[in-house]
C-alpha cells in the first residue's frame, strides 16, 4: 500500500542552522501539508501546497520557513535559521484530490531537536 515517507526520522541541529525536512507524498496525490507537534502540545497546521504553490499558511509559517516540490516527488520544508522553539515533530501529509473531506495520509514524522 502506498505511503507517505519522511526523512530523516530524527534531526539534531544547532540553533541558527538551516534544516531541510524531506517528504515523499503518495504519487497521485495533489494536496500537500506540513504540520508540527511540539511535545505535549496540539498538532498545528503550518502550510498547504497545491499546484506548485502555497495555498494557505498559518501565522507560524513566517519568513524563516519555506516549502518546495523540487522534482515532482519530494516535498521539502526548509527552516532557514532554526530556533530552540522549532524543536518539534514535523508531519507531512498528502491527499489525493483538490477538494472535499478527503483523508490526509500522514508520514511518520521527523523529530527536530534544536540545541
Amino acid at each position: 500500500e502506498p505511503e507517505v515517507t519522511q526523512t530523516p526520522s530524527h534531526q539534531v541541529t544547532q540553533m541558527g542552522q538551516e534544516v531541510i525536512l524531506r517528504c515523499v507524498p503518495i504519487s497521485n496525490h495533489l494536496y500537500f501539508y506540513w504540520y508540527r507537534q511540539i511535545l505535549g502540545q496540539k498538532v498545528e497546521f503550518l502550510v498547504s501546497f497545491y499546484n506548485n504553490e502555497i495555498s494557505e499558511k498559518s501565522e507560524i509559517f513566517d519568513d524563516q520557513f519555506s516549502v518546495e516540490r523540487p522534482d515532482g516527488s519530494n516535498f521539502t520544508l526548509k527552516i532557514r535559521s532554526t530556533k530552540l522553539e522549532d524543536s518539534a515533530m514535523y508531519f507531512c501529509a498528502s491527499t489525493p484530490l483538490a477538494g472535499g473531506p478527503n483523508e490526509q495520509f500522514f508520514g511518520p514524522g521527523t523529530r527536530l531537536t534544536v540545541l
Binding site: 494536496y31 501539508y33 504540520y35 502540545q41 496540539k42 498538532v43 498545528e44 497546521f45 498547504s48 497545491y50 495555498s55 494557505e56 498559518s58 515533530m89 508531519f91 501529509a93 491527499t95 477538494g99 472535499g100 473531506p101 478527503n102 483523508e103 490526509q104 500522514f106 508520514g107 511518520p108 514524522g109
Partner: protein, 114 residues
Amino acid sequence: AQTVTQSQPEMSVQEAETVTLSCTYDTSESDYYLFWYKQPPSRQMILVIRQEAYKQQNATENRFSVNFQKAAKSFSLKISDSQLGDAAMYFCAYSWDSNYQLIWGAGTKLIIKP
C-alpha cells in the same frame, strides 16, 4: 476562529469494554468535516473515522462509531469491544471548505487495561 476541544487528557478502559472520547468544536461554517485520528506509539497518524456535517447519519467503521450532535457542536467517538491495539493518542480534527487544513484538538490518551 475554528477551535477543537478535547477535555479528557486521558481515558482508560478494560479490554472488551466500551469507551467514549469527547470532542467539541466551534465554527461559524455551515459545511465542514470532522475526523478522529489515532496516533499509536509509532507516531504515524491514522484516520479512524470521518463525518461530513451535512450528513445526519452518524458514521460507523466496524467497532468505531461517532455521536455527531451538530447543534451542540459535539463529535464523540465510541470504541466498542476495546482491544489492546486500540491504545494510542486519539485526536479530533476539523476541516472546512477552504484548503481542508486540519484543526486539531489536544488529544486523549487511551489506555486499555488487559
